[in-house]
Amino acid sequence: MKFKGYRRPDGKIGIRNHVLILPCSLCASETARFISSQVPGSVYIPNQGGCAIVKADLEITLKVLSGFAANPNVYGTVVVGNTCEIVQADLLVGRIKELTNKPVEKVVIRDAGGTIKAAELGVKYAMQMSIEASKCVKEEADISELILATECGGSDPTSGLAANPTLGYVSDKLVSLGGISILSETSELVGTEDILAPRCKDEKTAERLLEIIKNNEEYFEKAGESLRDGNPSTGNKEGGLTTLEEKSLGCIHKAGYSTIMKVYDYGEQIDTNEKGLVVMDTPGQDVASVAAMAAGGAQIVIFTTGRGTPTGSGIVPVIKITGNAETAELMADNIDFDASAIIGGKSSIEEKGEELFELMLQIADGRKSKAEALGFNDMSMARKCNFC
């Protein structure tokens, strides 16, 4: 099975051809937006971090930002720095160059002489990249080169019954065809340890998986909070969920039944040679989770929802699916795929799964998802500590 994409000089294949305007910090974000607004088709990422952060968070930020630039959906990147932030432009450019040989340029606002002069330079770089990017011709690639990120948010009782099993079918099919699928959201794996550990490829992988779940629980305990207390919530129980295992199973079902081959840190580069289902250690917050998987190299996201959510990503197309017929109708602007026919027994998981797989291929080939058509570039990043 094939899809069409852009072959990058580093060998990877992208399904979009973005020129990325990438601010090093919150202080450079507005100038980056200003530059992007002058170059049609370029994308910029609002960056809330990058300064007043501890060392561990510097590492996370560098990983995510350089990962965005290295994402195969990106043609090239213009890094925009202020002057005094912790994520220095040179530092970020260096990290990008460690990951990829794609085009990268840098503008520092103070060095350029303020926002207007920085924008002049930034627009010049971005415009040139935009022309070069437009010369790229799509080529056929095997489906095994596709990395799918799975995500769920705004869940309701239909998520575990229709939307997540449908995505699970797509994930298993992609894995069987030699591709990579990523399961994320560590906080939602709590309670599924006994189920997931035996599904790991070997003991080492299982140990690592149990470790990220344990670390996640302990992190909250240190702050005096608990992920298990009151979970499932009163509302969950009212809705029919009884145990934490049951709730978490509904969530992990979006990754199907495949063997877990590897466990990655937040935003870590996905090894394209290690095929199959993998896990990434991300928080349950949808946007920060999608950001990490995009930084890891996922080219496409399928996102299940019950209540509906509009979020998208500047780097990767996000496909929204729901099992809730009312949500599909009320939020038709935001929902790409309606799997609710499964609930009434009018369709099966397999039938909807095949349709969703076909939609994924169409979107890989260039059809826009709803969030893309709306131009959404939601951005959030996980942090170890509060801002200093």
Partner: protein, 91 residues
């Protein structure tokens, strides 16, 4: 009309997609084959129903996986929830 979803053929708990009353027929489909049973009691939409007789201490299966243990004998067609299902095995 189907009014129950069973995700995995090994499941012992199904999820209702309508409210049911005692004596109502519950219909579901697994891999193209139709099944039905009688609801033993009133059960709300999206709550679980026992697809077979379950003994106290037995694991209860949904998604093809264990979601906990039966804390009492559960009759086919009965409501499965916090009163008869728990994460931990109890004596």
């Amino acid at each position: 009309m189907y009014n129950c979803v069973v995700i995995n053929p090994n499941d012992t708990a199904g999820t209702l997609t309508t409210d049911v009353l005692a004596g109502d027929t519950v219909n579901y489909n697994i891999n193209g084959k139709d099944y039905s049973l009688k609801a033993e009691e009133k059960i709300k939409i999206f709550h679980k129903i026992a697809l077979k007789d379950i003994k106290k201490g037995d694991v209860i299966i949904k998604y093809g996986c264990k979601i906990g243990y039966a804390t009492e004998d559960i009759k086919k067609g009965a409501h499965i929830h916090t009163h008869n299902l728990d994460s931990k095995m109890t004596n």
